[in-house]
Amino acid sequence: MKHKQKGVFIAMKIVLQNLTKIFPSRNKKSDEEVVAVNNFNFEIPDGQLIGLLGPSGCGKSTTLYMISGLQKPSSGRIFFGEDDVTELSTENRGIGLVFQNYALYPHMTVKQNILFPLQNLKGSDKLTKEQMLERAYQAAKLVQIEQLMDRKPSELSGGQQQRVAIARALVKMPRVLLLDEPLSNLDARLRLQTREEIRRIQKETKITTVFVTHDQEEAMSISDMIVVMKAGIVQQIGKPQDVYDDPANLFVAKFLGTPPINVFEGRVQGGTLYLGEDAVLPVPGIPDQPVTVGIRPEGFILDANGPLQCTPVNVEVMGRDVSVVSTHNASANPFVRSIIDADNRVNVDSGAVRYSVKPHKLFIFNKETEERIYFEVK
């Protein structure tokens, strides 16, 4: 904290060590306690934009609030850079937090909202009135709301309110920026625009940023790294493309990707993967066993001689691509959806459509543990 220069963002790495949060059971009758976050270990490199991704209840928001200090961990430690901040209260952590509902002070104007954190700076960090105003305007310019400075939050749209919240969080040059479901309250049109804004701001300020979302598309599109969580346990951490291309388990494979991955129940026999009767792919090195298989929609190649045969139900034209909806008896879902080039013509009434599969788009998972089983791709 002594080595912070005024006026410049100093990025800071965040280290989470064995972070665990247990909530005691609500009613006295059941002994059930909820393990919201289970032994989370992660070192967030400085200056990066990290997405915490998962379905609701997976512990992502709890983790975010523990980083902020508004929740105390049951065990484990949190470091900002070299500083162990686990025991430090929120007021002293120097973070910026954008709440899901923005929490803008309703009785203050935008300008007053943004000035508010600056007025709390103490000691060597204290600023003069002019300095405060200047910083406030800088922050407003960063999020492009300079012309709204004299309005009250109730007079602003959702997107504008959120930008004010971001400005308020950034104006004190925090070491870490946290965002709780930043896009979930915005309408679809605004979401695309705003997530680009967040990305742009993060790149300009280079501040270490962690945001929480349940929307995988959001997380994938702007994060440097994503953390996929389920029921308090980290499933996989990595660059978005890596996690997409190389899921560690079935949950991660199903969670990422639109349209979702196609899941099949198959078996490996004699080094070959069978889906139903179709010998789809040679998979040397995997012992014989029943397996769960996932194939990405873009992993199907229309092939008159292909090993995988499905019964087409519908062809959806999407302009650039074509989506073929079909059924297969080994499919775990009612329908199998493939995405192929629009130049291909598929006849729905033909009764059969044959595919070959791109090996790197097919994932095999242990049927019980749902962990990934790797095989050599020739």
Binding site: D83, V85, N92
Partner: protein, 297 residues
């Protein structure tokens, strides 16, 4: 200073800040409790004083250094208070007036609120607004004329005069109407389709659904009766009809010399007891009623 020692100092600073915070927080919490307990004791003191004084003997009460706990407990003070102030009669009068006026008033409040909430008639909005407007006028304005009116009616010194003028409470009508409005209109329409008359619907559906509010209103009205002073004093203060509060004050009128304080305190305790009991058992309704009046303005 090596970097390492700076880092160690830095880590120690953080730890100290965290520890200081904990101490700071504990101190503030202790301060808050101290303040609240002090205030609570101040608020409770009159009650405590009333109770212990009421069982002291007059001699003990007049000790120059007062005793914080009575030497002997004289329950006969209560018996004396009862007879000296004729509390039996006062209680009876007040109970009678309270019950009758509360029941009648409830009835009128219910049917009036129902009319405003569910029935359609010309001028509904205007009438309601006019009703609300009367709430702003201080009661004293009405008292003068009402006194003349009831004199002319010949109602002085009767139970009627204590009951009738206050049967309509615009505020409670407003409160109940709000409550009624929150009951979905679909229920009403469905009941109509089933051939239910308005009257039946009101008493079989709306009233049961509004029970909490009605209970609050009942309690507050009974409390109002118990505490009423000015009007009864003005219009019905004879032996037969005197109400509790009037009897209390006028039974021990002067403070210049030798009032039998313990007995007076016993009388006060007796008068306060019913209210206290209602509070203990029905606190929820009282506080809900009062706060609802607050937020709605």
């Amino acid at each position: 200073m090596t970097q390492k020692s700076i880092d160690i100092m830095h880590a120690r600073n953080l730890h100290k800040t965290a520890a200081n915070q904990k101490i700071g927080r504990a101190l503030v919490l202790a301060g808050i409790y101290a303040f609240l307990i002090l205030m609570a004791l101040i608020v409770l003191f009159p009650f405590y004083w009333m109770l212990i004084s009421s069982v002291k003997s007059l001699a003990e009460y007049r000790f120059s250094v007062p005793t914080l706990w009575p030497r002997m407990i004289l329950l006969k003070n209560y018996a004396e208070a009862f007879t000296a102030a004729n509390l039996g009669r006062l209680f009876l009068n007040t109970l009678y007036v309270g019950l009758v006026s509360t029941l009648l008033s409830l009835f009128i409040t219910i049917i009036t609120a129902f009319a405003f909430a569910r029935l359609e008639f010309k001028g509904k909005e205007l009438l309601f607004a006019a009703l609300l407007a009367t709430m702003m006028i201080p009661g004293e304005l009405f008292t003068i004329t009402n006194y003349l009116t009831v004199s002319r009616f010949g109602w002085l010194n009767s139970y009627t005069v204590l009951i009738v003028p206050f049967l309509v409470s615009v505020f409670y009508i407003y409160l109940l109407r709000q409550n009624f409005l929150q009951i979905p209109n679909e229920l009403y329409l469905a009941a109509k389709v089933d051939g239910t008359s308005d009257w039946k619907y009101l008493w079989k559906v709306m009233v049961p659904l509004s029970l909490p509010t009605l209970i609050s209103i009942t309690i507050l009205k009974m409390m109002g009766s118990w505490n009423s002073y000015i009007w009864p004093r003005l219009v019905a203060n004879d032996e037969a009809h005197r109400m509790v509060t009037n009897g209390l004050r006028n039974a021990f009128t002067d403070t210049s010399g030798d009032v039998n304080y313990p007995v007076q305190m016993a009388a006060v305790a007796l008068v306060s007891a019913p209210l206290f009991l209602i509070f203990v058992f029905l606190r929820k309704y009282i506080m809900a009623g009062v706060s609802r009046s607050g937020i709605k303005g």
